[in-house]
């Protein structure tokens, strides 16, 4: 459950590779007990951030705190409380699913008592005897998730976990991520698929060019999309709204008014003798918000 505490606090993170500034004073916080979508276009600094958090990349400047410990000094104390799928999942293809988890448990210093439970959680109990090499991409990702959960971690960091999965695989994986967040774990997911994040996340961090663009609850990010009006005579409706001082755009869906005051909009139209078929709040899509914030051009 979200309790207001922060699982990850990053401040002033700087990292340069040669002439490339991968991170330029990045600040963000990941709240505990929620599912956070970590978004950014290619090259925004997402993977570099994850690698810095896991102590595999040495930032040039900045501070990182994970579960109350300063990184990298405190990393040995918390690394077992972090489950990770970043880049390659590290499965051994010649071993079956169960043996992969046994090896992971032994290597990472966990007991074997959660292996059956995790196989069942990710839906691989029936396939546990098969070699990982025979698994589909989705099954390998689920096995990687099971391995990441062996230590019952407080924090899960998943970099593009849905990449390459078919729709059924994505659906199954999303359901499991949501279950984990609902159980009180902190889950951080980066994804290119904004639809996934929109469906999953409680909180969003958006980065671009190595800097924070915005962060906050997803609901806050998506509100303020204006009001949608549909009417039989859009010309008359446009004139009435313009006369009333509203700003709006006309598109294929009708009129999009730059105001959430549905009552005033309805009154203005009614006073002009126009009875719209629809006056409703227009919710932004995460895609529109993301493109607007990052300045990307979809054309």
């Amino acid at each position: 459950m979200a309790d207001g505490s922060k699982a990850i606090v990053v401040s002033g993170l700087v990292k340069t590779y040669g002439k490339t500034e991968a991170l330029r004073g990045l600040d963000f916080e990941i709240p505990s007990g929620q599912l956070t979508g970590f978004l950014g276009p290619n090259g925004a600094g997402k993977t570099t951030s994850f690698r810095a958090i896991l102590g595999l990349t040495n930032p040039d400047a900045g501070d990182i705190e994970i579960l109350g410990r300063q990184i990298p000094k405190g990393l040995p104390e918390v690394v077992k409380q972090i489950g990770v799928i970043v880049e390659e999942p590290g499965l051994i293809k010649s071993l079956n699913g169960r043996l992969n988890l046994l090896v992971a448990a032994d290597t990472l210093g966990f007991g074997h008592d959660r292996i059956d439970e995790m196989l069942e959680f990710v839906g691989l109990t029936a396939d546990a005897h098969r070699k990982a090499d025979d698994y589909s991409k989705g099954m390998r990702q689920r096995l990687a998730l099971a391995a990441a959960l062996l230590g019952d971690p407080q924090l899960l960091i998943l970099d593009e976990p849905l990449d390459g999965l078919d729709p059924a695989g994505q659906h199954a994986f999303r359901a499991r991520l949501r279950d984990l967040a609902n159980s009180g774990k902190t889950v951080v997911v980066s994804s290119h698929d904004l639809g996934d994040i929109e469906a999953l996340a409680d909180y969003v961090v958006v980065v671009n060019h190595g800097e924070l663009v915005t962060q906050g609850p997803l609901a806050d990010l998506l509100e303020g999309g204006g009001t949608r009006v549909k009417a039989g005579d859009l010309d008359a409706a446009s004139n009435a709204l313009k006369a009333a001082g509203f700003e709006f755009e006309r598109d294929g869906e009708g009129l999009l008014i730059d105001s959430e005051d549905g009552e005033s909009i309805t009154r203005s139209l009614a006073e002009a003798g126009i009875y719209p078929s629809q006056v409703s709040p227009e919710k932004s899509s995460l895609e529109n918000v993301f493109l607007g914030l990052t300045g990307l051009d979809v054309r």
């Binding site: 690698r51 896991l54 102590g55 595999l56 990349t57 040495n58 990298p72 990393l75 040995p76 104390e77 690394v79 077992k80 990770v84 799928i85 970043v86 880049e87 390659e88 999942p89 590290g90 051994i92 010649s94 071993l95 043996l99 046994l102 090896v103 448990a105 032994d106 290597t107 990472l108 210093g109 391995a147 990441a148």
Partner: protein, 254 residues
């Protein structure tokens, strides 16, 4: 124990170890074939081959098997390098509170696996020599038993070169390249009197030195090195290899 169990499962179920062992055995078997069987098939070249008789032929066999030091070098590079290329294992190797144990257990596993492979090759040679080499007799018991610990020492030293290369370079291909460059360069440098005093190849070969004379014997380095000197060289190179391994693993941004 759990770490050992994990490493055993990893190495025993993957193709790299049995395939490399097969290659090693083939090399040593071919050497045995040419040295004391081929002369029977092609007598015209028999005069040009050194005469290997029992019991010296068994020591030569140990030398032939254990000086295939590309084996521990490549095995360690491939196994450790494969893990360093994945974030979750790299994190365990480099940031876990048990990282020293993580490294030592892997190193022990690679060295033990190499020793076993060396011994497989040696026993193949012993079998072929028993049936095809001229002469009578077998090695002294103490000498026979010494092969086990000497093979282990060589495995440890050359494994450390492999782990050092891949820990520094963080990429299997280039690390194998560097390791093989060291391996081949050492083969030649060991023939130089000055380098011979610190040469790992010379020390490795000298552990199983037997003077079989002729042109063949003249190209075996390290024959004059006393045992303490051989062991010091091997120990020194092991420290260097392990030092680079530890340093490489503690580096970030690799």
């Amino acid at each position: 124990m759990s770490l050992l169990r994990a490493e055993y499962r990893k190495i025993s179920r993957r193709k790299v170890f049995p395939v490399m062992t097969l290659v090693l055995i083939t090399f040593v078997g071919l050497a045995a074939f040419f040295l004391f069987i081929f002369g029977e098939i092609a007598p015209e070249i028999a005069d040009e081959l050194p005469v290997l008789e029992k019991p010296e032929v068994y020591t030569v066999g140990a030398q032939q098997a254990v000086t295939q030091t590309w084996f521990p070098l490549i095995l360690a590079t491939v196994l450790l390098g494969g893990e360093l290329s994945t974030t979750v294992w790299a994190s365990a190797l480099t940031r876990d509170s048990r990282r020293i144990r993580q490294l030592l257990v892997r190193f022990f596993t690679y060295s033990l696996a190499t020793t076993i492979a060396f011994l497989f090759a040696f026993f193949l040679w012993v079998g072929l020599a028993y049936f095809f080499a001229p002469g009578e007799g077998f090695m002294e018991t103490s000498e026979f038993l010494s092969i086990f610990w000497k093979a282990g020492l060589v495995a440890i030293a050359w494994s450390s070169i492999g782990t050092g290369a891949v820990a520094m370079l963080r990429s299997v291909g280039p690390a194998i390249g560097v390791g093989l460059a060291i391996y081949f360069a050492e083969q030649f440098l060991a023939l130089w009197d000055v380098w011979e005093n610190i040469s790992l190849t010379a020390a490795t070969t000298a552990l199983f030195f037997v003077d079989i004379g002729g042109g063949f014997g003249g190209f075996i380095p390290g024959g004059d090195l006393p045992l303490w000197h051989q062991l010091a060289i091997i120990f020194g190179w092991t420290l260097v290899g392990l030092g680079f391994t530890w340093w490489g693993l503690q580096r970030r941004d690799a």
